[in-house]
Each structure stands twice: as C-alpha cells, then as structure tokens.
C-alpha cells in the first residue's frame, strides 16, 4: 500500500527487569516522537545521558506533521540531521489561494539569500523520526532507546521521579532525576499526574489524505475556500517527498467520520481535486477534530512536559511539530546546566514561562485562522465572504485572508532574563531574538554558516576590524567566568587569523547584526540573543549571564 517501509526497531530485555532496586538515571524521556528524540540527541550532544521509552516499535504511522519551518531546520541542523532532512524534503515556493474557482492571489516565497536553511520543507513525520532515531544511534553510551516499553505508573517528588514500565516480558521500575514527558496529545504522564489540559475544541472535522500522484503533478501548494469541485468548506493540497501529496478537506461538523475515512470515499474526493485522468494511489487517511489546549504549567516538580503533551494547536500554520522542537531547543541546555550544577533548578521555570509564551502565540494564531476558516454565525460568514470577495481585486483584503499563518520563530524579547535593549545598535537582533544565520569563512578560507559556529554553547560574538584584537578578547572572555563560553570574532576577512575569527565574506553578519567595531553579542546555547552592547566590555558578560541563569529569582 505505502511505498515507505516502516522500520521495526527491536525490543530488548531491559537490564533492570527482574532486578530488585531500580537504577537511577539523570533523565528519562517518555515518547520517541520528534520531540522526545530531539531531546535525547540535544542532551547527548551536551554530554547528558538519557533513557527513552516508547510503547511502540516503529515510527509515526501516516505522514502527520509534514511542514518543518526554518527555525526547526536550524535546530535539526544543530542536532546533526538538518542536511539530511533538506536533502530529502520538498522545498516549495509557490502557493495559490482560490475562492471557488477563482484565484485570489499567489505568492512566491523567494527566500532571502544568505541562510543555510530554506523557509520550510515538507517531510513526512516518519522520515523525521527515522532520521532522528538513526542520529541517536551515534550516541550509544548516552541514548538508551527502549522500544515496547510502556510508561504506566509515575511517582513524582521534589527530588526525583519513579517510573513504572511495562514490557512484553513484564514490568520494572526506573528512577530518574528528571523526566521529560514527550508522549503526545493524549499524554499518559499528564493523565497519571492528573494535570488539567484545557482549551477549546473547534466544531469542525477534517479529512486528511496522503496519495501518490504522477510525478509531473504540480508542486505548488494550493488552497481553495469553498471549492466548486467538492462539498468541503476548504481544500489544501501540497507535495511531500516520494510524489506523495497531502490533501486536507474541511468537511464540516456534521460529517460522518466513519463513512468519510473509507478509502474509496476518500479517493473519490481526491479525484475531484486532481482530476480523473491523474493516476493516484492511496497511502493513508484520517479524520480529525482539532483543538487548542495547553497545560497551565509545563514543569511539575521533576516532570517537564514538552510538545503536544504540554500544548496542542490546530494544524493550520504548522505550529504543532515546530512548536515542540522549539520546546526542546529551549529546554535541553537549561536541563544540562542544572544537571551539571551550573544553574539552580529554578532555571527551568524560565522554560515554562518562555515556552508558555510560545504556546500562547501559537494558540492565538491558530485560533484566528480557525475563526476565519470556520465562521460560526451568519454575521461571521458574511464578513469572511466579504474579505474573500474583496481579495480578488484589492490587495488589502489579501492580507486578511487567513488559511494559516506559518510558524515563525518565537521572539522572547522583553521576557525576564533578557537584557533590555538601549537602541545603540542597528539591526533587528534584539535580545530575545533567535539568531539569524549568515555565510562566513573560517581562518583557512573554508565556507560555512554562522549558526554552526554558535553551536550549543554560550557565545560571545564580537565584531573586530582585523585579527589583531583576537588574542586579547579571547583572554578577557575566558576570564569572565562563564562556563563553556565560546568566543566568535567577526572580521571582514579571517584568512590566516586565529581559529576564533570568522570572515564576514558577504558582509551579511555585519548587516544583520549591526556589526560596527566592538559590537558584542552574548548568545544563549539555544542561539537566542541574551544581551548586546555597542562596545566590547567583558565585565558586562558575566552579569548578563547570571541574570539569565537566575532570572527566576526575585
């Protein structure tokens, strides 16, 4: 049926099975989806071991999350799988929006040059998981991936967590300092701990279908409001790798889910979209109702919730999977700092506040899209249809047409722990912003990307005129008392300079960061600007870093 060969990962007898006292681990992750796997890899890259338990033994069945945004790809790249994802993924650029049979507008996402990663790619969740699992295998001593291990019992306390696990051979228990619950929208851990998961359900049903079409079928992403060829309220089609197309049908609240998910019925709808002459093969389909909900807090003593376990949104805008990966990006360096005793456990409260803010932003955007796509009263419908009618002629109304606002990096500007900006530096890289990428050259003249050099460390990035200042800045930075601080110096040309100097070969680092001589950025390990100064002043770095680690402290 499907071309994709679902891998089966072997169950192995856990060494703790049948042994009296449970072993204690630094981190257990429940759920080997994209979020849990990314978390294990991120921690492993920082030297932290984890056990990952999953009740299944394969990847996501069906394509599920397919749209991966630039920031997520940059995080995947930091985790060592970004290039593989973009090599396989479909990078689409042209999108068209229709009302009935009339094209309202089209857009061409010609990306701004000078970034390693594209605006986004389409890649089935099963590939994303497979690549992450294969990447995790690069850390055999740090990632212990346990298939067919189902978390079924949890005891949480201020000092650790005990987890009860069922396997095909019987039950056992594990103890851990910290537990990351990445076990999805129906999180077992959340349910067992009795946490509320409140929000609103939208009275709408969607049929999502994956089909394989002729390779020549157009790659454009197309969205119809009230299509004339089908009874659905809206239809979206976009391309994934392997000539697989995802088609979403907005069925209406009264649709019969059982009848609609029958293969023949789904294929009839697909043929109405693509035309009877196009050869199509069924891959997978599902009918779903979506909701927006979040936990009030993502951290409960020693249990940390991430991804869909902590928050869910409607799929329009691709904010589910992308939001979950941003959770991991935000969490893992903090958890690693706490486990290394470099930061108090209360640092994790900033995970709750920052990613709570991210979840709220995603829920707000996705609720607005839903309000546009699913008018609830005739007044709402008249306004919505008015926008669609005007959009055919008037540019202003196109900005109001809302078939989903695609995931953008969440800005943490103004959040506690980030420096205020005094406006002394040109450019948009305010404290709280995810760092923009740019092409650079190293001392040997090899081409690379800025984000690669930022890595997963705290970084002091300083603009210098030439390599002459490098040694002194390196020494002063190493004495400023920030553990693991990496120094990145940006010069017009790095050839022959010290290894810490990067050449701004196209001038884009300077342009994007307002990089006059002396301009200094302190950057968190998740590549967010923490503070910036117009001049190099090493004594300011430590204070800003302390504020970051201790931002929870009143």
């Amino acid at each position: 049926m499907s071309n994709y060969q679902y891998p089966r990962y072997p169950y192995r007898t856990p060494r703790e099975l049948g042994v009296g006292a449970p072993a204690r681990h630094p981190v257990i992750i429940v759920g080997a989806g994209p979020v849990g796997l990314a978390g294990a890899i991120d921690l492993a890259q920082q030297g932290i071991a984890s056990v990952v338990v999953d009740d299944n033994d394969t990847v996501s069945v069906g394509s599920r999350a397919i749209c991966w945004a630039k920031r997520t790809l940059e995080i995947f790249d930091r985790l060592g799988v970004g290039e593989r994802m973009i090599a396989k993924g479909v990078t689409w650029k042209v999108g068209r929006v229709y009302h009935r049979d009339r094209e309202l507008y089209h857009f061409d996402l010609l990306p701004e040059g000078g970034h390693k990663m594209p605006a986004f790619i389409n890649l089935q969740q099963y590939y994303v998981e497979q690549y992450l699992i294969e990447r995790a295998a690069a850390f055999p001593h740090l990632i212990d991936l346990r298939w067919k291990n189902r978390a079924c019992q949890v005891e949480n306390s201020a000092t650790g967590v005990t987890l009860g696990i069922e396997t095909p051979e019987g039950s056992y228990r594990l103890e851990t300092e910290w537990l990351i619950a990445a076990d999805g929208a129906r999180s077992t851990i959340r349910t067992l701990l009795g946490h509320p998961f409140e929000g609103s359900t939208f009275e709408e049903k969607f049929l999502i279908v994956d089909v394989r079409l002729d390779a020549q079928y157009p790659s454009e992403r197309r969205f119809w409001f009230q299509p004339q060829f089908d009874s659905s309220q809206s239809v979206l089609i976009h391309r994934q790798p392997d000539d697989v197309f995802r088609i979403d049908f907005q069925l209406g609240w009264d649709a019969d889910a059982e009848a609609e998910r029958r293969t023949e019925r789904a294929l009839e709808r697909v043929r109405r979209v693509v035309g009877p002459e196009v050869h199509c093969e069924f891959e997978w389909c599902s009918v779903y109702t979506f909701r927006c909900a979040r936990m009030p807090h993502f951290v409960d003593r020693r249990v940390i919730f991430a991804g869909d376990a902590a928050h869910v949104v409607s799929p329009f805008g691709a904010r589910g999977g992308n939001g979950g990966i941003q959770d991991i990006d935000n969490l893992c360096w903090k958890l690693a700092s706490v486990l290394r005793n470099e930061a108090p456990a209360a640092l994790l409260e900033s995970y709750d506040s920052e990613r709570g803010h991210g979840a709220d932003e995603n829920i707000l955007n996705s609720s607005r899209t839903t309000a546009f796509m699913t008018p609830k009263t005739s007044a709402e419908r008249e306004i919505r249809d008015g926008v669609l009618a005007l959009a055919a002629t008037f540019p202003f109304a196109r900005a109001l047409v809302n078939p989903g606002r695609l995931s953008r990096p969440c800005s943490l500007a103004g959040r506690p722990g980030f420096a205020a900006d005094d406006g002394g530096i040109v450019g948009a890289m305010l404290p709280g912003t995810a760092c923009a990428d740019a092409p650079v050259q190293d001392a040997r003249g090899a081409s690379g990307w800025l984000l690669h050099y930022l890595g997963s460390h705290p970084v002091a990035m300083v603009f210098v005129d030439g390599p002459a200042d490098a040694a002194q800045i390196e020494r002063e930075a190493s004495e400023c008392g920030i553990g693991g601080l990496r120094v990145v110096l940006i010069a017009p040309d790095a050839r022959g300079a010290r290894a810490s100097v990067l050449g701004d070969c196209e001038g884009l680092v300077r342009a994007r960061y307002g990089g006059a001589r002396g301009v200094t950025y302190l950057i968190r390990p998740d590549q967010h600007v923490l503070a910036r100064w117009p001049q190099w002043q090493p004594q300011a770095l430590r204070a800003a870093w302390q504020t970051c680690l201790g931002s929870h402290l009143s």
Partner: protein, 73 residues
C-alpha cells in the same frame, strides 16, 4: 483628490483587526449583527470624513457585490 487606500492599512496587524471585528459580533443575533455593521460604517465613515474617499469605497464595495453576483448566478 485623495485616493482610497487599497493596500494593507493595518501595518501587518490585519489578523488582530479581524479578531476584533468577529469578537464584537459575538453573541448577537443576525439582525443585531446587521445593525452593528451599519453603526460601524457610520462611525468609521465619520472618522474618515473625506467624502471623495468614502464615495470611492462605496463604489468599490458595490462593484464587488456585482462581481460576485455574476460569478454565482
């Protein structure tokens, strides 16, 4: 003569405007919603004040209705 602005006038905050408009209608009957829209038109027209601009908006709205009517006989 001032021309009716037809490009984005919300400075990128169109979604916020749309949400505000929908929220204002929440809980109203269809009749009340029509009455609300009439009052909104009057308030916004008074704020604009420029009769030439308002008249262009009236023409554009009317023309859009006609275009939709042609499309949906």
């Amino acid at each position: 003569m001032r021309a009716l602005q037809l490009t984005d006038g919300f400075g990128g905050r169109g979604d916020q405007f749309y949400e505000c408009l929908i929220t204002t209608h929440q809980g109203l009957s269809d009749g009340e919603s029509r009455a609300l829209n009439a009052r909104l038109v009057l308030l916004l027209a008074n704020h604009i004040g420029d009769l030439e601009v308002i008249s262009q908006a009236c023409t554009a709205a009317r023309a859009s209705l006609a275009a939709v009517a042609v499309q949906q006989p």
